[in-house]
Amino acid sequence: MTGWEQLVTTALLGSDRGTGASPVGVLEQAAVEAVARRAGQSPVRAEPLAVAPVETLPLAPPRAADRLARMLAGEQGRLIGEWLELAVAHGVRVPARLVPQLLDLGARDRSVRAHLGVLAGARGRWLAELNPAWSYLQQESSGEGLLDHGVWEFGASGDRRAFLRRLRAASPDDARELLAVGWDNEPPVERAAFIATFADRLGPADEPFLEAALDDRRREVRREAADLLTRLPGSRLALRMAGRAATLLVRDVTRLTVELPERCDSAMERDGIRSELPAGRSGGRKSWWLQQLIAHTPLDFWTGHFGLTAGEITRLPVADWRREVLMGWTRAAILQQDADWARALFDAEPLTDLLAVLPPAEQSERAAELVRAKDVNGQLIMMLGGIARPWSGPLAAAVLERVAEVAASQPWNAGELAKLAAERLDPALHDQLGHLPDALSVLPTTLRFRFDLTEEFS
């Protein structure tokens, strides 16, 4: 036992019970020992962290980085996503001092992870290896070595996906053949991600591969393949779907009558129809099958089948199950990116998802019409929430007009609309807002903030 330990034991038990040491003596000796122990601490041997790899991307401009720091500290935090997008577009990385906060953000918010793969740079990857909470970063592409075949053989999963996307963009046939070589040995979760790359430059040559993928063990792979095949009008799946659909919708002179499917057989399930109701959906299973069958039938089939345009078809009265039929077509229009159908369906029911299928100018025009025609309420704001930034042209003008119009009569709704507009309007409009009441100062302030944010990257 050391002198110190002896002193502690004496103090614990009480010096009266011990060897008769005086309490003051114990205190004095302890003071000497305690200070000596503090003064005598010596360094130890520890393993320095491995050195992080060299960065390949340039740093974000200092002013931009400072703004990000402020946003991470809470100022206009909702705009962080926009900053990250811009930074990725400019091919820069964030300063190391901000990487931990960003990686923490990514741990909470999946939507920013893809950006972080690039922005956090080599330092971010190095940190992600040290801290398990940040390991998600390895699933994201770093944006590096994209034409280097070694990445495909040995890279992290995020980089392999990015490599395949790049190859697909350059040569769909090469990408498909490369994928086919090791397909059976890829982990299921990777197969689902890989097959999604076929959406880019999808063509008839992809049909056999995708048709085969309908027999995959993993449901995500099967469903992705089925969705892609509906976009190929000549595919075997499209023909099978058209055959099924033909019996479901029948034109009865001036209206459509609906025949619900009687069963969902294994062939239908193979083609991507889900037999079971999804969680949260009520009602019968047959109407669910109906909607899915319509959603997976090439839209061109209907125009040929009925001899009418998309507009004419969507205006036909439907005897029963109108809602399921319209939902089916809507899903099909979005899946098949069919502008004609999207336009016709939007007239029937203005869903913002359909707007996304239209060319940008038309999108803005149509949304503007709605903004002018409808009441400013939660529904309108939710609808507008589906339209991606930047809003400009007719939509921007209409929104600003409406905000000013209802500012006095409906302050709350005007405020909500102003908040949304502040995040979506083209920031170049920041000095063309005209006079707004003080209560709506969020609009000029946020827009000016976003304008500065954009400027700092140039």
Partner: protein, 553 residues
């Protein structure tokens, strides 16, 4: 710029009023920045900023300081949104003149008191050299220069403190005699009671030591920790009882730790240390509804570290005249003691060139520095004086003068381990004065230069020296140069960077906590780190990234 804001909501609000459309009649001339901001009322708010300090004034009713208008104006200015003018507006000029006048008065008042103390010191020194120390156990400054009533009050306090500490000595001795095994059950109430009695006995420093004791129970080895604390408190009580026999510096240390406040004038009567002081770290604490701010300064030439403490009640602004990352050319006076650390800014000569973060103001002031700016009044301690340590229940300062007595700043007084830093001293100009006309952020990117510090392997010797002079030291600021983060199992360390032998025994443990920021900035490369030594490991304060920008850890 936003580092100047008192809180996050002020930052937000400031961003809201930084749009050019909000401002009219804004301008910048000499060291003043001003503008009129449209508010909710009919009259616009007039805000102006004295960029030398920075100091603020605004006609708005906000109790926050600086208010959002002043901050918004600064933001606008940093975005190059304020035109230069030849002369400040009349109302600005009025304010500036007013400030100058008040500063001059204040300075004259303090100078008078300082002169009185210096004279008294000189007199008592000559007394002492002639005869034995006549002033007895009472501190050198407590009894000097006061009227009869002050003397009586001072004597009364001495008696109360003596009685309180004698009581404490007996209690401690009883604890050891009967054993501390039952402390977990009984001690909390005892400490509470004792600390109340010590407050009544006007020994707030010791009272605070007792209130803080309960943290020992967070550790498994609490008996050893408690014995350490008891022993050190006992040592303090005994040292105070025998303070007449102690060297002057050590006596100052003991008195400050017991809880005697050192008058500002007494501190300012100490020899000033002029240097380019870099603000290397800043930490705010909120304890018992009292905010405290610690600002650490590092002198480029002397290698010394100084701690500037300020206090404010919750809701009131803390002193914001020292901005992290900037460097000031100033004279500091250290609180006397055997290991001096706490200091006052006695005079700011002019803003020194530095590229630290929100340095626009500093740079600007530098360009237009007028002779008057050298006469800034001592600042930063107003709040501290009003809310002395007694209110905070905390020892007012930890600093005590070096046992080897005064050495004048001219002789290059350095800290242990600071010799090296003094050798490496490079003139401020090499700190990278950014070319004129650069925008704030560009200058910002030019960054500051990390201060020169010591090697990890030298730290034990340095700490041993500090402890030898002030055994009650429980934290001491350090700057470590060329260190890398290291790990042993789950514990983090800082080790000297040695590419030839990375496995040397030179790693210092860090307090547990979030250390990823340091790892991120370093990336395994050597960095400069400012930290506080504590008996349980280093508490990280700041580091500098590859651009020289200071990063709070």
């Amino acid at each position: 710029m936003l580092a100047l804001a008192p809180d996050a909501s002020s930052q937000k609000a400031a961003a809201g009023v930084s749009a050019p459309a909000k401002w009219s009649g804004a301008g910048v001339a000499r060291d003043a920045l001003w503008g009129e901001c449209k508010g909710s009322g009919s009259k616009p708010y007039r805000a102006c900023v004295d960029l030398r300090e920075p100091a603020y004034r605004c006609s708005c009713p906000s109790r926050k300081f600086p208010c959002k208008h002043a901050l918004g104006l600064l933001l606008l200015w940093s975005a190059d949104g304020v035109p230069a003018a030849d002369e400040p507006a009349d109302w600005v000029e009025e304010w500036l003149a007013d400030r100058r006048e008040r500063a001059a008065k204040q300075e004259a008042k303090v100078a008078e008191k300082v002169a009185a103390i210096v004279a008294a010191e000189a007199a008592s020194a000559s007394d002492r050299s002639g005869a034995s120390d006549g002033s007895g156990g009472s501190g050198g400054y407590g009894a000097s220069g006061g009227s009869g009533g002050d003397d009586r009050r001072a004597r009364q306090r001495e008696e109360r403190v003596d009685a309180g500490l004698a009581d404490l000595e007996r209690w401690l001795s009883d604890q050891i005699a009967h054993g501390i095994a039952g402390a977990r059950q009984t001690a909390l109430a005892d400490w509470d009671d004792l600390s109340k009695r010590l407050i009544d006995a006007q020994a707030p420093g010791v009272a605070a030591l007792l209130t803080g004791l309960s943290r020992v129970f967070r550790h498994e080895d609490w008996p050893a920790r408690l014995l350490t604390e008891y022993a050190l408190v006992h040592l303090l009580a005994v040292a105070h009882r025998r303070s007449a026999d102690l060297p002057r510096d050590l006596r100052d240390t003991v008195r400050s730790r017991v809880g005697f406040t050192t008058p500002k004038e007494y501190v300012l009567a100490q020899p000033p240390v002029r240097d380019h002081w870099q603000v290397i770290a800043c930490r705010d604490e909120d304890r018992d509804r009292l905010l405290s701010r610690r600002v650490w300064l590092h002198g480029r030439a002397t290698g010394r570290i100084a701690l500037i403490l300020s206090f404010a009640p919750v809701g009131q602004p803390l002193d914001s005249s020292l901005v992290l990352g900037t460097t000031i050319d100033a004279s500091l006076c250290f609180y006397p003691g055997s290991a001096p650390l706490r200091a006052l800014v006695a005079a700011r000569h002019s803003a020194a060139p530095s590229g630290g973060p929100p340095s626009h103001g500093v740079g600007e002031a530098d360009r237009h520095s007028s002779p008057a700016s050298g006469e800034a009044p001592p600042r930063g301690e107003r709040a501290a004086d009003r809310h002395s340590a007694a209110a905070s229940g905390e020892a007012p300062f930890h600093g005590v003068r070096a046992a080897d007595g005064h050495s004048s700043p001219a002789s290059g007084e350095v800290q242990p381990g600071g010799e090296r830093a003094a050798d490496r001293y490079s003139p401020p100009a090499s700190g990278g004065v950014p070319p004129r006309g650069e925008r704030a952020a560009d200058r910002h990117s030019a960054g500051g230069v990390p201060p020169h510090g010591v090697r990890a392997v030298d730290v034990p010797r340095l700490i041993a020296d500090v402890l030898a002079r002030d055994p009650w030291t429980d934290s001491w600021p350090l700057i470590l140069s060329d260190v890398v983060p290291a790990r042993v199992d789950s514990g983090w360390y800082l080790a000297d960077h040695d590419p030839h032998d990375p496995k040397l025994e030179n790693a210092l443990p860090l307090l547990p906590g979030t250390l990823w920021q340091l790892a991120a900035v370093s990336g395994g490369h050597p960095v400069t780190v400012a930290a506080e030594w504590t008996p349980d490991g280093l508490r990280l304060l700041t580091t500098w990234d590859e651009r020289g920008q200071v990063v709070v850890l």
